[in-house]
């Protein structure tokens, strides 16, 4: 360190009231206490948990083949259907709606990746990806026969996304600037969308990295090493990790020690990430947010997710009950339900006699409003109890949540009116 640099460092620390020459006795004492505790804890665990952790993770790729070879069954029995993507691809505006919906649905999906609630330790298996700067992956949604494949190339904070049943369209997402550019190569149109109010959304790679970091601190975890299994004639080491209600299955390449497939299952959804590759030397221009030459710029305005909030969510509930479910509220409102509503949405819009424009607007409103649940800003949990409730039933509460810094709860009723309710008067 140069003299000026060192002086500058010391000066900055002093200016902040920090002794540049070391730590205080109190700090040192606290650290030593913590260190002693950790060393002691490590020692006592070395014959049990820590050993078992090493058994599973330390050298998983030196293992000989164990267990039986299974042909990988890519079929997903989740009941997810991809029709929603097709329905909303009928006009330029609907393309925008589709882009937004794809974006929202995947955000909803990837951000539910276990981390905050589960307690797993993945250790060495996914350690190599921590340093990855770029990645490529396929996200598979729905049963095999009607599966939608979303392909993501990721470079830093940018994603280039293609969707298997949205032909001729690329979506480039800048998660740092929160912008989206939808390029229709067939129509030579470029639609830029400002995605406001979505907060700090990591891409899947970053999310995975953050998750790994968090998981490494976890004290409790349950992992099963299923040995070598085969996918399309290639052997992979398979680990199944369970934490709380979440299950993650990871297929690792025994030679590179890198995960090639991750299956994430939560009570609300199932997503498979396939063909994972890391540190690809992408051409940066592929992620450019500049409109290509010869493309017409479509003025789509922006999607301000801040405006969604409660009123947007209520509008989504109205659309869901009125158009999608023909007069009653859905049984549940989780991600799986959202992705499944495609066919019902189409029928409902026909039934209502909507024009394409009206259909697109409904899809957009629905997508925006539903984000309220994903980016829930209240305290604790939201509760949904709309199963069997008719739209207009003012006697039945269907949704309630506690806004941030509020002592009362907001309760939405079947007629979509809202009331502030004291905690002791909440629905049971």
């Amino acid at each position: 360190m140069h003299n000026n640099d060192k002086k500058l460092l010391n000066g900055l620390l002093k200016a902040d009231g920090i002794d540049p020459n070391g730590v205080s006795n109190d700090e040192r004492a606290v650290f030593r206490e913590m260190l002693d505790e950790q060393l002691k804890s490590k020692q006592s665990k070395s014959d049990s948990r820590v050993k078992s952790r090493f058994k599973y993770f330390k050298s998983p790729f030196k293992m000989r083949k164990m267990g039986t070879k299974n042909t990988y069954d890519a079929g997903i029995k989740s009941g997810l259907k991809p029709e929603i993507w097709r329905i909303i691809m009928k006009s330029r505006i609907t393309k925008l709606a589709a882009a937004a919906m794809i974006f929202i649905a995947i955000l909803l999906g990837i951000n539910s990746f276990p981390g905050s609630s589960s307690s797993l330790v993945f250790a060495d298996i996914i350690q190599p990806i921590l340093n990855a700067k770029s990645a490529s992956m396929d996200m598979l949604i729905g049963p095999k026969e009607s599966q939608v494949k979303i392909h993501d190339d990721i470079l830093g904070s940018r994603i280039r996304r293609t969707v298997s049943n949205v032909k001729g369209t690329d979506i480039i997402i800048d998660l740092e600037e929160m912008k989206m550019l939808a390029l229709s190569h067939t129509e030579k149109t470029a639609t830029t969308v400002k995605l406001e109010g979505l907060g700090n959304i990591p891409n899947y790679l970053k999310l995975l990295q953050d998750t790994v970091v968090r998981m490494q601190d976890a004290e409790e975890f349950k992992v099963e090493n299923q040995g070598l299994k085969s996918i399309d004639g290639h052997d992979y080491v398979v680990f199944v990790a369970v934490g709380g209600n979440d299950t993650i299955t990871i297929w690792c390449d025994p030679k590179t020690a890198l995960p090639v497939r991750i299956k994430q299952k939560t009570p609300n959804m199932l997503i498979i990430c396939d063909n994972l590759q890391f540190d690809i030397a992408f051409d940066e221009s592929k992620f450019s947010m500049d409109v290509p030459e010869g493309y017409t710029v479509a003025d789509a305005g922006g999607i301000d997710f801040k405006k969604g909030s409660e009123s947007g969510f209520i509008e989504s509930l109205r659309i869901w009950a009125e158009i999608i479910e023909d007069g009653h509220f859905p049984d549940s409102i989780n991600l799986q339900d959202i992705v499944k509503i495609g066919p019902k949405f189409e029928k409902g819009m026909k039934r209502a006699g909507f024009t394409k424009e009206q259909s697109a607007q409904s899809a957009m409103k629905f997508g925006q409003g539903i984000v309220f649940i994903r980016f829930f800003k209240g305290q604790g949990q939201w509760h949904y109890a709309g199963k069997g409730v008719e739209l207009g039933d003012s006697s039945r509460p269907i949704f309630w949540y506690q806004p941030k810094d509020s002592e009362t709860w907001r309760v939405i009723y079947g007629d979509l009116t809202v009331e502030d309710v004291a905690p002791e008067n909440l629905p049971e």
Binding site: D5, K6, G11, D16, R32, G199, V213
Partner: protein, 179 residues
């Protein structure tokens, strides 16, 4: 022996579970980490908790650190994750608008003298969070741009751009203060 070599050896000793090595690492990095965390966390009185979390994570994970030369990046990434985990829990992280990445040359960047440290420190408080963060890493660790990019999780071009802007804003802010 060069400082970097000493650090590498220190990391190896930590990886072997040597108590004295951990204590040494703590003595070296705790003041700088405190400064960095305070710049990110804007002082809600949680700094000590965050620092404790950081060192717990260091203790638990240091045996996984394969490239011991990247200790600084690794350490600050842990610190950053801990601070931002706190933000996520508190749901108060506010994304700030960022300038476009622009090509900049290193020659037209303001240079800061150690004598100005106090004014610099005060002026930094007025910068945007993302500018303050990269400058902090730049000033307290003299991190190369690539390492800062690794810590912050963005491209080297973005770091270059942020530092360029940040230094100019800082200089302007210091001029306002002195006036």
């Amino acid at each position: 022996m060069e400082f970097d070599e000493q650090l590498e050896k220190l990391v190896h000793r930590c990886q072997d579970g040597e108590k004295a090595a951990f204590e040494r690492l703590f003595e070296i990095y705790q003041p700088r980490l405190r400064y960095y965390v305070r710049r990110l966390d804007s002082g809600d009185g949680h700094t000590d908790d965050i620092l404790q979390d950081i060192w717990l994570a260091v203790f638990k994970k240091i045996h996984k650190l394969k490239d011991t030369r990247s200790l600084g990046v690794w350490l600050y990434r842990i610190a950053r994750n801990r601070v931002y985990d706190g933000f996520r829990r508190k749901d108060r992280f506010v994304r700030m608008p960022e300038e476009d990445e622009i090509p900049v040359s290193g020659t037209d960047e303001p240079v800061f003298d150690a004598e100005d440290a106090e004014a610099l420190h005060k002026a930094m408080e007025r910068l945007k969070p993302q500018h303050r963060e990269v400058l902090t890493l730049c000033f307290i660790e003299q991190m190369p741009y690539q390492s800062i990019a690794d810590v912050v999780g963005c491209t080297i071009g973005t770091v270059r751009s942020r530092i360029f802007y940040a230094k100019h804003y800082l200089r302007k802010e210091m001029e306002i203060q002195s006036a």
